[in-house]
């Protein structure tokens, strides 16, 4: 795995080859994903314990949540994940404008997700449901808001990538940033898949 060539010094000083830079960025992002797994994992552990301890509270809490909104949001995120995956393939094949379009689709999905979440939250507050209501809703708000934070960060990352892409920074020989940004976005999707199951479905 060690570098075999020292000829291509990047202006940053030390990236040995574009291949190494690419695989390093990806490995870095995967490590970060491992971190995120354990970050949300803490919440999953809390969920598991209190779900087992207070099953009724969780059944009642779930009844307050809108399955329709939850399912819609799940599909929205799956579609966004799909479109950014398509985007990566597109830039790998040199379709720069297609990538821009697909990122816009992804960002729109993200925004739509956020709007839905906003309506969900305000409906809860309207019904007098707050994080302090009970442990289920504390978990609901903690999990979904932390996830929402990731959605926003992901959107920011993809937005920056889109700008750079429009400036023509990416090509079939340089698509590290779109791929790594997409990785992060998929993570957001995967976490939601579990949150959806845990919060909206399980009863």
């Amino acid at each position: 795995m060690a570098a075999t060539s020292v000829e291509h010094l990047h202006s940053d000083g030390h990236f040995v080859t574009p291949q190494d830079k690419y695989s390093s960025m990806k490995l870095g992002m995967w490590l970060f994903i491992a971190t995120e797994i354990l970050l949300f994992g803490g919440l999953f552990a809390v969920y598991a314990i209190y779900r087992a301890k207070f099953p009724e509270m969780f059944f009642n809490g779930r009844d307050e949540l809108s399955l329709l909104l939850g399912t819609t949001n799940t599909v929205i995120l799956i579609v966004s994940s799909f479109s950014i995956a398509m985007g990566v393939t597109a830039i790998q094949r040199g379709k720069k404008n297609l990538l821009t379009f697909l990122i816009i689709v992804t960002l729109l999905c993200g925004a739509l997700f956020g709007v839905n979440k906003y309506f969900e939250y305000t409906a809860k507050f309207h019904h007098g449901i707050f994080p302090s209501t009970d442990i289920f809703f504390a978990l609901y708000f903690m999990m979904t808001s932390l996830h929402m934070l990731h959605v926003i960060v992901g959107m920011a990352i993809l937005f920056i990538i889109m700008i750079f892409n429009m400036k023509g920074k990416y090509s079939p020989s340089n698509y590290t940033a779109p791929e790594v940004g997409a990785l992060y976005w998929h993570l957001v999707d995967v976490i939601w898949i579990y949150l959806f199951g845990l919060l909206y479905l399980v009863a």
């Binding site: 291949q19 399912t71 009863a203």
Partner: protein, 107 residues
């Protein structure tokens, strides 16, 4: 599913494969929502099915969308190790929570 290798060492997943995956994901979402409305008599069975389907979906996303299928072994090691740790965290704290021996009280 077929792939091409690229000069950076990355893999290109064809559009067709991605479309197949997303179709599967949407169908699985439909199934999991439908199943959640059924009553099997055991709440635990519902959780199990919902989590099993969620895991299948997560695998689909990570293997194809995230190209994990084509990553080298060290990535796999870290991801699997983090999942194992998560299971241990949940397993130990859950079992302590429920096996903790607390005395009967007669005030």
């Amino acid at each position: 599913m077929s792939t091409e290798t690229h000069e950076l060492g990355g893999h290109i997943v064809p559009y067709k494969d991605l479309v197949l995956v997303v179709t599967a994901l949407v169908i699985l979402t439909g199934i999991t929502v439908f199943v959640s409305t059924l009553d099997f008599g055991y709440a635990a069975l519902n959780i199990f099915i919902a989590m099993a389907i969620a895991s299948v979906k997560a695998c689909l996303v990570s293997l194809w969308f995230m190209h994990l299928k084509f990553e080298d072994v060290i990535t796999w090691i870290f991801i699997i190790f983090s999942l194992v740790l998560l299971c241990l965290l949940i397993g130990f704290s859950l079992s302590d929570e429920f096996l903790r021996i607390t005395p009967k009280v007669n005030f």
